[in-house]
Structures are given as structure tokens and as C-alpha cells.
């Protein structure tokens, strides 16, 4: 890979190496605050990168794309590429944000207002 030829690749080059040079997620787009949940473990972990496996571990509890990126110390776009791989393999579910899902109803608004007041 091109990144390996450079003795001191920049941080972004290294990150692209994580995705095998891919800048776009596969499949349907998902939000930076979509909620990711691990729903299966791979039969053959060798087929996945350490970053893929780390993401699976983080998402055993429902976690947003943004937080997974933070935990993995990877930019969000790179994180999305990795998560799209895991979705394709059927290992994670990715649920849209409340507003996109159309569940931002009276009850949620009230819960958000109460929660903010209680901070």
C-alpha cells in the first residue's frame, strides 16, 4: 500500500490505511449520531482488522457513531467506513437519530426538556 512506502506517513494517510484506502462507507448512508449495536460476533475474527474488532467491542452497548470514533481515536468518516463493513457482515445494527426516525414526538420533547432542566 502506498502508505507503507512512506517512512513517516501523515496521520490521515495512516487512517486511510485502516480502511484500505476507502473514503466512503458501503451501503446506505447513516448519520454521525446513528446508534450502533453489536448483534453478532464474527466466525472468523482474522478477517477483520483490530479497528473493526474494537468497534464491535465498544458497540456491545448501544453507542453512537460519533462516540465510537472517539473511542477508536479515528475521524468520523473513517469510523463510518469501518462500521459499514460490519453492517454488511451482519455484525452490527445501525439505527437512525430520533429526528430522522420520526420518533421526536411530544413525549421525547418533554423528556429532553426535563432532562436539560435537571442538569
Amino acid at each position: 500500500m502506498a502508505a507503507d512506502e512512506d517512512p513517516e506517513p501523515g496521520p490521515l494517510v495512516r487512517m486511510f490505511a485502516v480502511t484500505g484506502g476507502r473514503a466512503r462507507p458501503v451501503g446506505e448512508a447513516f448519520d454521525v449520531i446513528a446508534v450502533v449495536t453489536t448483534i453478532g460476533m464474527p466466525y472468523d475474527p482474522a478477517g477483520l482488522s483490530p479497528e473493526h474488532l474494537a468497534a464491535l467491542r465498544v458497540a456491545t452497548r448501544p453507542t453512537t457513531v460519533a462516540d465510537i470514533g472517539t473511542r477508536l481515536r479515528l475521524p468520523l468518516n473513517i469510523t463510518r467506513v469501518l462500521l459499514s463493513d460490519l453492517r454488511r457482515e451482519g455484525l452490527v445494527s445501525i439505527d437512525p437519530p430520533a429526528a430522522t426516525a420520526g420518533v421526536l414526538n411530544e413525549r421525547i420533547y418533554q423528556e429532553v426538556l426535563n432532562g436539560l432542566r435537571a442538569l
Binding site: 494517510v13 439505527d95 421526536l104
Partner: protein
């Protein structure tokens, strides 16, 4: 597809609020004031450019391929979070706003009375896309206190849009701003329904 489901399999919900405004107006400060995590400034790659490894050899000098994106988080309860995203201040990153704006509950346009004009693009953006927004006028030390009526007129902000003073450094003040936005967004959803 997972994306089309109307209720999350996990039952967890994340809500997105955008903090917009001109460069250096205090967006990151505002996020810090209420976030339970240090606002993270990730170097984002511009996914619409189709950048490939082969093209990134000169990455350190090609600053146009990255953009900083700040976000913070507030946990309201287990499985209900608010994420605050500071929108990129530079005009050339408008396309990122488009993506961030999808599925947002609403937006705070942070304005500085010394540079009111910097808030125009953000006001325009949310008006055009019918995204609930409000204006928070950041009262910096030494900033002249302007008449809200004058500011509203200067920014051409409609009457129904909340316009409040705030101190982006103060947690309570920012909380008040967010409460105002959520109430406004709820009002808009009732009207629009």
C-alpha cells in the same frame, strides 16, 4: 434496511443540535460549557472528494482535504443523548453543514454584536431548509449590549424565532439557550404537523 426502521432496535435515541455562527464566535466554548466530554475536534476527511490513498501523499500541505469538527455530548439518561455539533465556520465547508443538518432537532446561531454579519449565512441556511433555529447573542466582555429589536432587524430574523442574549462560557446560560431551542422546535413541530 436498518435505516428505514422507525424505532431503533436498541431503544437508544440520540438527538442532534447544531451550534452555528461565524468563525471564532464562541461555538466550541458553548459546546464545552454543557458537554460532559471535552469537545472533540476531529480532523475530518472530506468524503465527497473521493480521496484515495494515492492522492494523499502531500496531505500535510493539502489543508483543503481536512476540516475540524467539534462535538460534545449530554447524557439525559441511559440511552438518551444530546449531541452538540459546532458547525465548521469556514464557508468552504458548507456541504458538511448539509449532512450535519439532516436529522437535527434544531440549531443555535451564535452571534457576536461586533460582527453581526458573520451570522447571516447561518440564519439563511436554516431559514431555507426550514430547520428550527434560534439566535443566541454572545455577550463577550466589553461587547456593547445591543437592543434585541435592532439585532433582529439587522439579521432579518422573523418574529417567531427566539433571539436571546447568552454567555457562551456559562453552563446555566447555555442550558437556558438549549431549553429555548427545544421548546421552539417542539412548537414548530406542532405547527408543521
Amino acid at each position: 434496511m436498518d435505516y428505514a426502521r422507525s424505532d431503533g432496535r436498541s431503544g437508544a435515541l440520540a438527538i442532534k443540535i447544531l451550534i452555528a455562527g461565524g468563525f471564532g464566535v464562541g461555538k466550541t466554548t458553548m459546546v464545552s460549557a454543557v458537554s460532559e466530554i471535552q469537545p472533540l475536534s476531529t480532523e475530518e476527511l472530506l468524503s465527497d472528494r473521493g480521496v484515495r490513498v494515492d492522492d494523499t501523499s502531500g496531505v500535510e500541505t493539502k489543508t483543503t482535504t481536512t476540516v475540524a469538527l467539534d462535538f460534545g455530548r449530554i447524557t439525559l439518561r441511559e440511552g438518551l443523548w444530546i449531541y452538540l455539533f459546532g458547525t465548521p465556520g469556514q464557508d468552504r465547508f458548507w456541504f458538511m453543514w448539509d449532512e450535519l443538518a439532516i436529522g437535527a432537532l434544531g440549531a443555535v446561531v451564535l452571534a457576536d454584536t461586533r460582527r453581526l454579519g458573520d451570522a447571516f449565512p447561518a440564519v439563511d441556511f436554516f431559514e431555507q431548509r426550514r430547520i428550527p433555529y434560534m439566535v443566541a447573542v454572545n455577550l463577550f466582555d466589553g461587547a456593547r449590549r445591543h437592543d434585541p429589536v435592532v439585532i433582529r432587524r439587522a439579521l432579518a430574523v422573523p418574529e417567531h424565532v427566539p433571539l436571546v442574549p447568552c454567555d457562551a462560557r456559562e453552563r446555566e446560560s447555555v442550558k437556558e439557550v438549549l431549553l429555548t431551542l427545544v421548546r421552539h422546535a417542539r412548537e414548530m413541530s406542532r405547527v408543521g404537523a
